[in-house]
Symmetry: none
Subunit: 194 residues, 4 copies
């Protein structure tokens, strides 16, 4: 335990430890004791930083969703063409979901989030969709995508394909993803199945 860690650093340590423990054990299976141990602190100390297990979970969710949103934005911005951008999104999704897949699943089924957090979650989710939506709009404006493309549907195709691919590899077939895999996805998405 680093004595000199600031309150904020300590809080982040707990947050990250908690993500690992929630991911491994699910919400109800994640005992506060595990989280404390994972963070290398005493059980009571967690309560110095987060008032309850529910609240801790909510903070994690916020933290993760914010990081995802921000990371996705960067991934998109660092590409020039729509192809590069989708490729970047793919890579970012894989990287992020490899670390947070389980956690995101847990998050999705939690019904008892506080109104505040639920609102935040919805808001950030909307922001994420917005990132994709803008990307698609720009590409349409540039002529990279056909002008009559249904933007919403396109978005879901991209997101869904990427996510499905991550899931398959994560749960069923743990081959490491290679560059050609990313290329193949983008290829199918852009050219269609025909």
């Amino acid at each position: 335990m680093v004595i000199t860690a600031s309150r904020e650093e300590r809080q982040t340590d707990i947050l990250k430890a908690a993500i690992r423990v929630f991911s491994e054990h699910g919400f109800d299976g994640a005992k506060m004791e595990y989280i404390a141990k994972e963070a290398g602190i005493g059980k009571g100390t967690v309560y110095e930083y987060f008032e309850s297990k529910d609240r801790l979970f909510e903070e994690i969710l916020k933290f993760s969703v914010d990081r995802y949103s921000q990371g996705l934005k960067e991934a998109i911005d660092q590409g020039k063409t729509i192809e590069e951008r989708i490729l970047n999104c793919s890579r970012f999704n894989v990287e992020f979901l490899n670390n947070h897949m389980e956690f995101m699943h847990i998050a999705m089924q939690i019904k008892m989030l506080s109104k505040e957090i639920r609102a935040h979650h919805m808001a950030v989710h909307a922001v994420i969709l917005e990132h994709y939506s803008e990307m698609i709009k720009e590409a349409k404006a540039n002529g990279e995508l056909r002008p009559d493309l249904n933007e919403e549907i396109a978005m879901f195709c991209i997101i869904g394909a990427l996510e499905q691919f991550c899931k398959q590899r994560f749960y069923m077939d743990p081959r490491p993803l290679e560059e050609k895999d990313y290329q193949a996805i983008v290829d199918v998405l852009l050219r269609g199945l025909k």
Copy 2:
């Protein structure tokens, strides 16, 4: 409580009640008492049909996954062209997931499934992928899809897009899906984004 229900009918009633309760409350949040109440029977009676909560969950999973696999197969078989088939898959997915979405999410993160059930689950998942895979192969053979299409990727694009669409509508935007929505998805998938 229907007095005349056979043992098998009663068991199915409990199964269905349990799906609803697990979906609503998650695995740990689903109290056996809720399940019993939902099925309109006493708490102890559930144990006459399923030896434990874990075992009950496993049976549900088997039941649901089998029904999904079978339903998907039928959906595919009832279409002639690849377009019709994907449309049917879409409709079936929406219908099924509307009823079982939450439950399937719960199922995905359960780590402590028995070896037997885990094996069954993986096997049925493989069968499901096989249904999609065959559909794509046939369509390639017929010339409906281009011959150089990466089948695995195509499969993930189709599954992912459909699922993503269901999820979006389920969680975020509960508009009922219309026929034009299905058409739009198939259109994007088949024609590509370009």
Copy 3:
């Protein structure tokens, strides 16, 4: 299941089955279902003959204690000398306890016997002591035992030694008892240790 069994015979069958099950599983461990199965009847049928588990246990206790008292009396009466009589008691004790040892232990710690049954139990116990007491008195009168012998203590020595011997052989050292063992006990009791 013998259809023609009279109500009384059926009741005795259940009683005997219950003794076996209580002996094997203890009071709380003895499920009514086991007892029914052991008696070859349905669970509900037990309740046609005994109104509750507690009542059934009490009836067994009565039954057993009566049989013990009666058997002991016969064993004593069939001997002429004090030596023969103690030998007979030994043999009877061994035989009876081999079949009812566990059950008697269970009986001893049951605190919640009804007043009525507790009274009966005490009464029969007193009768048993009386059998021994009379035996000793008669032997004193005959000059077989010394006139200054403390009758109560003598009784406890006889009962205790016999019982201890049975217990040892039952729990720790399951050699079958032989005639010479009985002789040795009587010998020590009558001649003293010195």
Copy 4:
């Protein structure tokens, strides 16, 4: 609740409380809540010291049996003659069994002791018999007891008579034991009934 109690003291407190509760209610009748209340602590706290009810019972058994064995040894060692020694054993038995009688009965019918504990129990029982056996051997060597005495039988007579006496007084006739009672037992044992 003594705040300053060490972990070990607290554990012993629970042990002793549990002996009382098991003695009063039997194994299955002894609710963990009663034990906690008897020890003056919360229900959950018992589990900080003993992992389960079964384990707690086993620990008590070990504890009691060890104390009995040790106490008996001391009782014997503090006597010079065989008479003194048997007197000491009597007094010790009465004292110990007055406090643990019920518990020892419960212990005897527990079938599901772990192998380890069962082995320990048997071992200590053997040690106890050994204490008696040695006492008798020494007395024979000293000429206090006759040389042709069957040691095993003698042992059972002594143990049985003492125990029977305790039981009688405990269950049926709660007069306090007086010195002359002890004397009478030893007298009968040593001089024989004749």
